[in-house]
């Protein structure tokens, strides 16, 4: 997925000289190729994220197409006000890349873990949010964000969970992508980012009738499509490596409650910081986001059927 990001970025920069990459002193090896191919479109803004975002606004105002890269703990969370006021307020075409979302930096602790970024970004008007699940969705999201000519946040989480598509999907903005067909009245999984692969694995193993959807577009959302999934009649389970407050699960629940209330299990981070450090898989387990824990939560949820 990171390679797909780098490739997409280089393509955009080569076809449009207005594309400028700003990084907050992050992305050491990730940008080697970009720096080699587009050295004049690369700026290391230093360890100064607030200034970097303000500058991106200034560059956008003078006709450039900035791509601002940082860790998602900092971009967008640390610079939320700059994104709100300097960029999104005027729909400036700046793409923010938040890398390492969720628990990627599992050994580094709370400062580098990011499970509130979608919630923060969702509340900002005019700001699109992308959350790709694999390399193909990443390519699609980069193209969509560039073509939208809008303020956008692209969340890049754990990137090596395996592919969920066979090719770059063709989708309109906001659309949920169906990965597995289900039966009427059966369970529907809606997942985003790193959790899509897990949703597919659980559904394929244990819920043959369930449908599985990937949500690479968090905002704007395709309300009619979500409502149609709700009308299918079965319960929903949302899955994200993000807080259950304000992220994908909240978004789906908000739409469902207004258009077609159904039971929804929101799998995500339950309003807590990590207690311990360890491997990525260890941290998923600590937060109940590993496959076994999710299957257990899901079984309990379904056994409590209304």
């Amino acid at each position: 997925m990171r390679e797909a990001f780098s490739t997409a970025l280089i393509q955009l920069a080569q076809q449009d000289p207005r594309v400028i990459l700003l990084t907050g002193d992050h992305g050491y090896a990730l940008f080697d190729e970009f720096r080699r191919v587009c050295p004049n479109q690369y700026i290391n803004a230093g360890i100064a994220e607030q200034n970097m975002v303000g500058m991106a606004a200034g560059l956008a105002r003078t006709g450039f197409r900035p791509v601002v890269y940082g860790l998602s703990a900092f971009i967008p969370v640390r610079v939320l006000e700059q994104i709100k006021l300097d960029v999104a307020h005027d729909r400036l075409p700046v793409i923010f890349i938040g890398d390492g979302a969720g628990f990627v930096y599992s050994h580094l602790g709370t400062s580098h873990q990011s499970t509130e970024d979608i919630a923060c970004a969702r509340a900002i008007p005019n700001l699109q949010i992308y959350s790709p699940a694999d390399a193909f969705e990443m390519t699609m999201c980069m193209q969509a964000a560039y073509q939208a000519h809008a303020s956008a946040y692209l969340r890049m989480g754990k990137s090596d969970r395996g592919l969920v598509h066979a090719a770059v999907p063709e989708a309109s903005s906001g659309e949920l992508l169906q990965l597995k067909q289900g039966k009427p009245g059966a369970l529907s999984f809606i997942a985003t980012g790193s959790m899509v692969r897990t949703a597919m694995d659980i559904a394929s193993a244990s819920y043959a009738d369930a449908s599985v959807w990937s949500a690479p577009f968090i905002k704007p959302a395709e309300i009619a499509q979500v409502a149609a999934i709700c009308r299918n009649g079965g319960p929903l389970v949302t899955m994200e490596e993000h807080s259950i407050h304000g992220g994908l699960g909240s978004m789906i629940a908000e739409i469902a409650s207004e258009h077609c209330p159904v039971r929804i299990l929101r799998i995500g981070v339950k309003d807590r910081f990590s207690e311990h450090c360890g491997t990525y898989d260890y941290l998923l387990k600590e937060h109940g986001l590993d496959r076994t824990s999710i299957e257990k939560q899901l079984a309990e949820f379904l056994s409590r059927a209304a």
Binding site: G54, M55, A57, G63, D90
Partner: protein, 273 residues
């Protein structure tokens, strides 16, 4: 438009601010008055707006980062004919456009400010953009002395110096006050000039109410062959022009009455009334 008005007469600009503040029953008069001469000189003698178009792509950029002083900028924009008269008489009316802080959706205002410490970075980005494109556009950012408590000011200053943005000028309105009191009692700033010089700026200090001095300093700063960003430290008086407002921080928050409005207008207009 008469010649008198188009000359950015500072008494007239202050009267506009007073009339607006009275019409809208609003505050922030003191911090508008400290930048009147700075804005008058910039608009009259330095800023280039081809065809008097506030959105001309090849314009110079003026960013009022201390958005609280925006009424002073409205007063200048009125003289340029960029704002309709009713915007002034109906300031703060329900459904009106001109806000109490700078809003970039108003043609002629480059940024949405008021949350302090934002405008300098945006200006650095604009100066960088102009430099990459090879234009001769200049970028000016006006910050308050209280505002430079904000960290991003210094992040942007470091970047501007490192990238040799010689087309960038920060103007510090050093009126000595911030919202809750004198800067030296809140967060002492020491020498603002020395701070910017140590960050790599070419800096001048001037009397921010002396129009000839302001004009000369801006010319001198741009004329210097150095590739440093520029800093103009303007020593100013909060509430300048009205005796009972000068150095009196209560006019950061106080609303005009009919009586104080009349007295203040009489002072700023003198025998021109």
């Amino acid at each position: 438009m008469s010649k008198h008005i188009s000359a950015f007469d500072t008494g007239n600009l202050r009267k506009t601010v007073l009339d607006m503040a009275f019409a809208g029953s609003t505050v922030h008069i003191g911090c508008a008055f400290s930048i009147i001469e700075l804005l008058a000189v910039l608009y009259r003698q330095h800023l280039r707006y081809p065809d008097n178009d506030p959105a001309a792509p090849d314009r110079d950029f003026l960013i009022l980062s201390k958005g609280h002083g925006v009424m002073a900028q409205y007063a200048c924009m009125r003289e340029l004919g960029w704002l309709p008269e009713e915007a002034f008489s109906a300031y703060f009316a329900d459904g009106s456009d001109l806000k109490g802080l700078s809003d970039s959706r108003i043609r002629g205002l480059e940024v949405t400010s008021g949350s302090l410490g934002h405008g300098l970075s945006v200006g650095v980005g604009m100066a960088l953009g102009a430099k990459i494109k090879g234009t001769d556009q200049k970028t000016y950012v006006i910050v308050g002395d209280g505002e430079i408590n904000e960290g991003p000011i210094w992040e942007g200053a470091m970047f501007a110096a490192h990238h040799q943005l010689e087309n960038f000028m920060v103007i510090v309105d050093e009126n000595g006050y911030q919202a809750m009191g004198p800067t030296k009692e809140v967060i002492g700033l020491g020498s603002i000039r020395a701070k910017f010089e140590s960050f790599g700026f070419l800096a001048h200090t001037i009397d921010g109410h002396n129009e000839a001095e302001i004009d000369n300093a801006i010319h001198e700063l741009w004329a210097d062959p150095s590739r440093q960003p520029r800093a103009l430290i303007a020593r100013t008086v909060k509430g300048k022009g009205v005796s009972f407002m000068e150095h009196n921080n209560i006019w950061h928050y106080t609303r005009l009455t009919a009586e104080t409005h009349t007295h203040a207008v009489a002072e700023v207009m003198g025998d021109r009334l």
